[in-house]
Every structure is written in structure tokens, then in C-alpha cells.
Amino acid sequence: MADLETQVRQYTKSALDHVEPVRADEITTTERLPRGPRGRARLAVAVAASALFVGGGALWIVSRHGGDKVRVTSQSGASPAPTHWTQTASLDTELSNIIAVRGGIVATGYGGIWFSSDARSWKNMLTPEQPGGSAPYVSDVVATSHGLVAVGTAAEPGTSHGVAAVWTSPDGRAWTRVRDSALEPSTPPIPSNNTSPDRSSIAAIVRGGPGLVAIGEVFSGTFNGPTLVTPCCTPTVWTSRDGSTWTRIDKAGDPGGRFVDAVGRNGTVVALASMVNGTDVSKSDDGAHWQHVGIVRGSVSSVAIHGNTIVAVGSIAAANRNGRAVIWTSRTGVTWRQVYAEPSARITDNKSVVSNGHWLVVVGYRGRFEVNTRGVMAISKDAKHWAEVRRDGDVFTSDAYLNSATAFGQGFVAVGTARTGAGTPSNPVQSHTVVFSSNLKSART
């Protein structure tokens, strides 16, 4: 072996020195988009190369596997295919997650919590307290028999650092923040002028274990002056029976990992944590004891249950160093099968996957980089054959990206970020939240 300095030089010149330059005209004609949800990996992605179209009154999907045509009978079935989408709302806020609840839909993000009974009219129900440094963020919501529980990060009184936060609501309209010392642990000191790390944060919440299981992280790093000299955070789990009182399970995951998403099935929780070389999969029946069961060879951003199948979406590194979109499936979480890999050289990003039991919907974006992207959506009935949703070729073209989707009645509702303006000083780009719906008429409101 060569000496270490030579190895670094050879590796750098060979593996790191190929990043395409950014030109000034790429910057001056576009604008930065709002950042994605905190704590959720934004990974490159999976959108099928196949086409979907409606003809002769029947829906056809041209499979990405060899171009076979698969006739879909959903037009007359109980769950129509989510092929036709219309924009139903535009909101001057930043929302990245959407969840159907009893009587309506809840959307969350940096804009707090918003509620709608029909996907058309929306009202802001909660604006979290502002920490001094980082923006508050409502990352996820789950419905329980007691009502709704939302999680995220909000202000810690007296400091500039955020802490894990939980809010409860009986109906999605009135929200109350839960104060529990388990959510606000003692941590190593963070310099007051460093606003990057939160003391704790929650990325997702699912039903399982004793009732509810939330995944996130707690700051455990060490600063040398202003410099963080050790990994910042430790994966952490919180459990609760009803969302009002919480128990913290410290060091629930590998110290080098970061929880990204989880699903619950029959009381068992499957949690995924982003690692340096893949995504770890762990299982727990009680939320307190976790067993590492498998690894996904790539970066997973979102996971959902579809029938008996766990579906994960994310990316692997492509030969051209762009992210390559991938969809994996697993029956047990132990072994994972890659069922789709994006052939495109374009960078794409899958942000969310959701199932209504009949259809899977994956949303994200495609583009060269964040300042030049458009929303994309793919659907599947069986998690094996995927088709990109197109409507006159341009239903999502004006939109920077799609963030999340939820099953609502017999249809789906999706939330994304759109932009207007040319990106010039006289006509600056403005970003806002857009809401799309499919088969909304059949939704129960």
C-alpha cells in the first residue's frame, strides 16, 4: 500500500474530481427551492420509464419490463386508479407531509399544521414556537383511538436549540403541545452560537409497541470550540400509550445511523436508519427492544406497507455519480429485493411512498439539481410494475417537486412545492405549497 497521503491524493483525483461545474447562468435564471423535510433523507430515485395512458375507456399500463401491456380493471373497481390529478389548492406556506385523518386531511412541515376537510380549503391550525436558530418543523402525524398525535421539533424555552416536540389533537383542528421531560433530555453542551444541532428531534411516528412509537435522535456530540468533533446524534426511540406521556429509549440504533422512516404492522414496528453504506432495518414488538434484521443496499427515504409487502423507495449511487432511483420490496424486512432502478441519467428524488391497499403512489422530483426540477409521480398495483403518471404531459411540470401523498377516501391527495417567476430581480421566483387530488369526488369527507 502507498503511504496514506498518497492514497488520499489518488482517491481524490480518481473518485472525487468529476463533479460537473456549476455555471453562473444556471444560477441567475433559477432560484433556490425550499428545503425538504428535516430528518428525512432526500434520495435519488425511482420513476418508471414506462408510460400510462387512458384509451378506449380502459386504463392501460405499459410495463417497464419489456413493454408488456397490463390491463387494469380499476375503472369499475372499488379503488379507481390514481391517474387523473387536478390541483385543488395553493398555499403560501411550506408543507412537506400530508396525512388523511378522520374527517379530513392534515398537512405538516415548516409551516406547522394545516387542516382541510376536502383538500380544497385549508386552514393553519398550529404554528410551532420558533427556536432561535433552526426553524420548527412538524414532521409526521398519526391517528389513534384518542385522536391525532403530531411530532417534530420546536422551541426549547430559553435557548436557541430545538427539542423533540409532540402535539395532540382530538380532531385535527385544535392542537396542544405535550410537555414531557422524556422529550427534552439533558445533552452535552452545544455552543450558544452554534444553531445547527437540535437537542433532540422526532422524524416519524407510527402505531405499534405499547401504542405509539416515535423515532428520532438526541444530540450526543462533543464540541471543541465551535467545531463538532464527534458524530452529532444518537438514534433514539420514544414510546407512548396515548401520546400524552412518553418513555425514551436511548441509543436505540447504531450510533452512526439516523432514523429516516418506520412502518407499523400488527403491533410490530419496522424502522429504517440511514447509514454510511446503506440503510439498516430493525424490528421491535414493544418499541423498547430492537433487533437488527436486515440492510437495504442503498439510501431509503420512505417506506410503506402494501398488502403483505413492505415497499421502500430511495436511491443508489449511479456510475455517473448521480443518484439512481430504486424501489425495493420485502416480505419480512430481512431480505430486500430491488424491483426497480431508474435508467435515467438525470438526478431524481423519491420523497414518499403511500398505499391505499389497492394502489401505491410514489412522489418526488426529477432534475439536474434542486434549482431546476419538476415533480414526478409513479403508481403501481403490485409494487413490481411501475408507471409514471402523466396528464397531458404536463400536470406537474410547473412544480418544483412533490413531497408527500396520502390515501383519502377512494382517492389520493398529494402535496408539493411550486414556483412562479423567472428568477430575475424584477421577477423573482416565489415558492408555495400546492395540493393535488385524484378521484376526490369519491373521497369520504
Binding site: M1, L4, D17, V22, R23, A24, L228, R258, N277
Partner: protein, 151 residues
């Protein structure tokens, strides 16, 4: 507007290569272009303020660093190419776990032959601190890789 465009274009031409390499060292090649674009976009949006700064490149680097999603998602670093049998296969993973500034200092100084002064200017820290980061980063890499001091 044309003056503003021209001035910004000059800034990008002069700054972008350094910025891109430093951000590659920070968050890996997969995310570096996005991070570079993020930083430069911020500079464009706030050009009147940025252009008047003493060290605009350093400021844009810190903006890009703070906005980089790679700091959260930690994307994998590319494997060692098979054409480099002299390089430890574990080097990418070892680099990935180095503290940010140690990794940036090691890669810029030993990977791209920057001087400690150049690194210090971009990171906004002292030259001696850069040297410390390089020394500690190499020491930690040796420990992680089990490499003997004399190679």
C-alpha cells in the same frame, strides 16, 4: 442588471471551482454540485450584501455547508476504483466518519494540494487550526484503517 450579472459571473468563475471542491470534500461528490448551486444561488439572491464582504467565498461556503442535506443524510462515498490497488478499500468509509473540518482539510490539502493558507481562507479559520485538522484527520484515518505511521 447587466453589471450585476457580469459581476456575479466573474465571482462564479473565480470562486466556483474552489467552492465545489471544498464542498465535495465536505459532503461527497454525489451532493457537492447541489450544495455548490445552493451556495451560489444564495449569493445571487443576496448579491449586494455578499459582494461587499471581505471573504465572500468563505461566506458562501458556510451557507452551502449549512444548507447541505448531505450533513443530514450522509450519502455514501464512492468506492475506491479498481484501478487503484494501492489504495485501502476502507478509505471512503473512513473519510466519511471523520469530523467535517478534518475531512475537508485532509482532502483539500492532500487530495487537491491546497496550501493550509488557502484552506484557512475558505473555511474562515486560522492556518494553525487547518494544520491541526490535517494532522488529527490523518492520525484518525491511520487508526481507522490500521495503517502504520510509515506507510
Amino acid at each position: 442588471v447587466q453589471d450585476r450579472d457580469a459581476e456575479f459571473s466573474e465571482f462564479v468563475a473565480a470562486t466556483e471551482p474552489r467552492l465545489r471542491r471544498a464542498l465535495t470534500a465536505l459532503c461527497g461528490p454525489e451532493e457537492a454540485r447541489d450544495a455548490t448551486a445552493e451556495g451560489l444561488t444564495y449569493a445571487w439572491q443576496h448579491w449586494e450584501r455578499v459582494r461587499a464582504m471581505k471573504n465572500p467565498a468563505g461566506y458562501v461556503y458556510r451557507v452551502a455547508r449549512s444548507r447541505s442535506r448531505a450533513r443530514k443524510t450522509r450519502p455514501p462515498w464512492p468506492e475506491v476504483p479498481s484501478s487503484l490497488p494501492e489504495v485501502e478499500p476502507g478509505l471512503p468509509a473512513a473519510l466519511a466518519v471523520l469530523p467535517e473540518r478534518q475531512r475537508v482539510a485532509v482532502v483539500l490539502v492532500h487530495g487537491w494540494d491546497w496550501t493550509p493558507v488557502e484552506v484557512a481562507q475558505l473555511l474562515g479559520i486560522s492556518v494553525s487550526t487547518v494544520r491541526n485538522h490535517v494532522a488529527r484527520g490523518l492520525e484518525r484515518l491511520r487508526n481507522l484503517l490500521g495503517v502504520r505511521i510509515n506507510g
